[in-house]
């Protein structure tokens, strides 16, 4: 499978993707890098000047900076926690023989198809709204004061919305993995006297590890960039309670029109993302190798 011919060919075949992505990475990245060393406000394009590391210091000294990093990680972590655990549970449930399996599956995967701003709008206005939301209606039904989700638990609210969107993805992948579990292994465990719980712990869970790795990897990539949901719901507040790094950059770039500062933030975010990525690869990457 590996002759000189095929190897050379393989290089050639990789070329378009690699070159495209390289260009896609390098061009904006180098522009961003360049801007990050400029004093450049979109609203006063006349006053562009070299800034040195000022933008970095400036972005770093933003009072929301550390909290935004923390919030970024909390969103990623929180959503992963909910989707992986919930997804596993749902996958187990959907793997059982049930009436109307097809429809149930359709219902469960639906949130995945909803575009993030719509999802955020729906949750904000019709589900979590303290006055007219369904949650409020429910709590009034039980005679308690409705919770003002976005004011009292801003980060949690965002995590819930985002988790809602990603739960189907996790469920689907875990379900597929679950169905690939060798039935003889399951039977062997049954013969060995393992109860349902033991089979889950000793057999199913390890079997799902690889699928979970994939879920974590893919979702992390997307979750690091969550911002539309924040923009629509809390706008990063109250205070900085739900400002994550992408949103902080958004605030700098599209409210302050501070291209320099936002670029510096972008560079910082890329570095952070790559740290997370490397960390993630290290921790779970070996799971991806056969």
């Amino acid at each position: 499978m590996a002759t000189h011919n095929t190897k050379a060919l393989a290089r050639l075949m990789m070329a378009p993707s690699v070159v495209l992505l390289l260009v896609w990475m390098i061009v904006p990245l180098s522009m961003t890098l360049w801007f990050s060393f400029q004093n450049y406000n979109l609203l006063s394009p006349g006053n562009v000047s070299f800034a040195g590391f000022f933008n970095y210091r400036y972005f770093y000294s933003d009072p929301a900076f550390f909290q935004s990093i923390w919030n970024t990680l909390m969103i990623v972590g929180g959503v992963l926690l909910i989707t992986v655990i919930g997804g596993t549970f749902l996958a187990l449930l959907l793997d059982q023989p049930i009436f109307g399996q097809g429809i149930v599956r359709i219902l469960v995967i639906s949130p995945f198809f909803v575009m993030p701003p719509v999802a955020a709008l729906v949750w904000k206005n019709m589900i979590m709204h303290p006055g007219y939301g369904v949650f409020a209606d429910i709590s009034r039904l039980f005679g308690t004061t409705p919770i003002d989700w976005f004011a009292q638990y801003p980060l949690l609210s965002i995590v819930i919305i985002v988790a809602w969107q990603w739960l189907p993805f996790a469920t689907l992948i875990l379900l597929t993995a679950l169905q690939s579990l060798d039935s003889e292994q399951r039977e062997a465990a049954e013969m060995d006297g393992a109860s349902f719980i033991s089979r889950f712990i000793y057999l199913t869970l390890p079997h799902l590890a690889r699928a979970m790795t994939v879920v974590i990897l893919i979702q992390t990539i997307f979750l690091l960039g969550v911002y539309a949901e924040i923009l629509v719901t809390t706008n990063g507040g109250p205070g900085y309670a739900s400002t994550n790094l992408p949103f902080l950059i958004y605030r700098t770039a599209l409210l302050g029109y501070d291209v320099g500062g936002a670029s510096a933030g972008g560079i910082i975010a890329i570095i952070l993302a790559n740290i997370v990525a490397i960390f993630l690869m290290r921790a779970v990457g070996k799971n991806l190798d056969r």
Binding site: M1, A2, T6, L9, A10, R11, M13, P16, S17, V18, L20, L21, W24, P28, M31, T32, F35, L93, Q96, P97, I98, F99, G100, V104, I106, L107, V108, I109, S110, P111, F112, F113, M115, P116, P117, A119, L121, V122, N125, I127, Y132, V134, I173, T176, A177, S180, A211, T213, L217, I218, I221, A253, L254, A262, S263, G266, I267, I270, A273, A277
Partner: protein, 274 residues
């Protein structure tokens, strides 16, 4: 394991599953229901029985034509997906069947390009688009979406291709197939479930992409994400209209997803299985 499942077990599982499915689906259902309520019903508190008016849809349609953004969404998501597949198939082939010690690293690097925060590069990209005359063009946006999703596409294809026994490609090679024929006649049809699922997933991602599609378009290329952006916070809480617009924006992809869920599920493993 083919022992008869007790009916009780099945009933309990069914109830639990339907309950959870209902909860998960509820926001969408409620949007649907709200879209056929009148505005005052919409904020009058919880009710599952709408008056069944289609007025909101008519209002939304007359206010912002639906057809054009819908077509843009279709063209953009399908176009960018096809483009991405064309570029990604050869790359995935090379990675799966002629791996080097760098293959994994290249793959991870590709994925890492997805982590670039879009907002940070908006201005550079906007300037580039302006200079190349790509602002508000379908082609520009299509390229953009292709680039954004390419890493995922490459990765998914790579994992599917890896499942295909190399012997079959070798057999084709022995049979006199050139590279192109090998890919067209053997690899692609064999990986079809995977490719189909990649295709679907990518369409979903492209359809729902709502940063660039709003920022780089105005009129000609604006898809449904931009359509929805014109309903989000008008003066007053027009939730019924918002719901109608939302329903119109997500319905096509939702229906596509429903109909193709078997394909999607079958292929959506990212090589995670086994």
């Amino acid at each position: 394991m083919a022992r008869a499942v007790t009916n009780r077990h099945k009933v309990i599982a069914t109830i639990a599953a339907w309950l959870i499915a209902f909860v998960i689906f509820f926001p969408i259902l409620y949007t649907l229901l709200t879209s056929i309520k009148t505005e005052s019903e919409a904020i009058a508190g919880f009710s599952l029985i709408p008056s069944g008016t289609f007025e909101n849809y008519i209002t939304v349609q007359t206010r912002n034509g639906y057809f054009k953004p819908f077509m843009n969404s279709v063209v953009l998501s399908v176009g960018s997906t096809i483009l991405a597949l064309i570029i990604a198939v050869p790359a995935a082939w090379a990675m799966a069947f002629s791996p080097t010690k760098w293959t994994k690293e290249i793959l991870m690097w590709m994925l890492s390009t997805k982590m670039m925060p879009a907002v940070a590069v908006l201005v550079p990209i906007y300037l580039l688009f302006r200079d190349f005359g790509l602002l508000d063009t379908r082609i520009g946006l299509m390229v953009m979406l292709t680039l954004i999703n390419l890493p995922i596409v490459v990765w998914m294809l790579y994992t599917y291709f890896r499942e295909i026994p190399g012997e079959i490609l070798e057999a084709a090679r022995m049979d006199g197939a050139g590279l192109w024929q090998e890919i067209v006649y053997v690899l692609t049809p064999m990986a079809l479930p995977g490719i189909a699922s990649t295709f679907l997933l990518n369409i979903i991602l492209a359809w729902n992409e709502s940063f660039w599609t709003i920022r780089l378009t105005a009129v000609d290329a604006a898809p449904l994400t931009a359509f929805i952006a014109s309903f989000s916070s008008p003066q007053g809480l027009f939730w019924a209209k918002l719901s109608a617009a939302s329903t119109m924006a997500i319905a096509p992809i939702l229906i596509l997803g429903w109909f193709s869920q078997k394909q999607l599920v079958r292929g959506l493993t990212f090589g995670a299985v086994k």
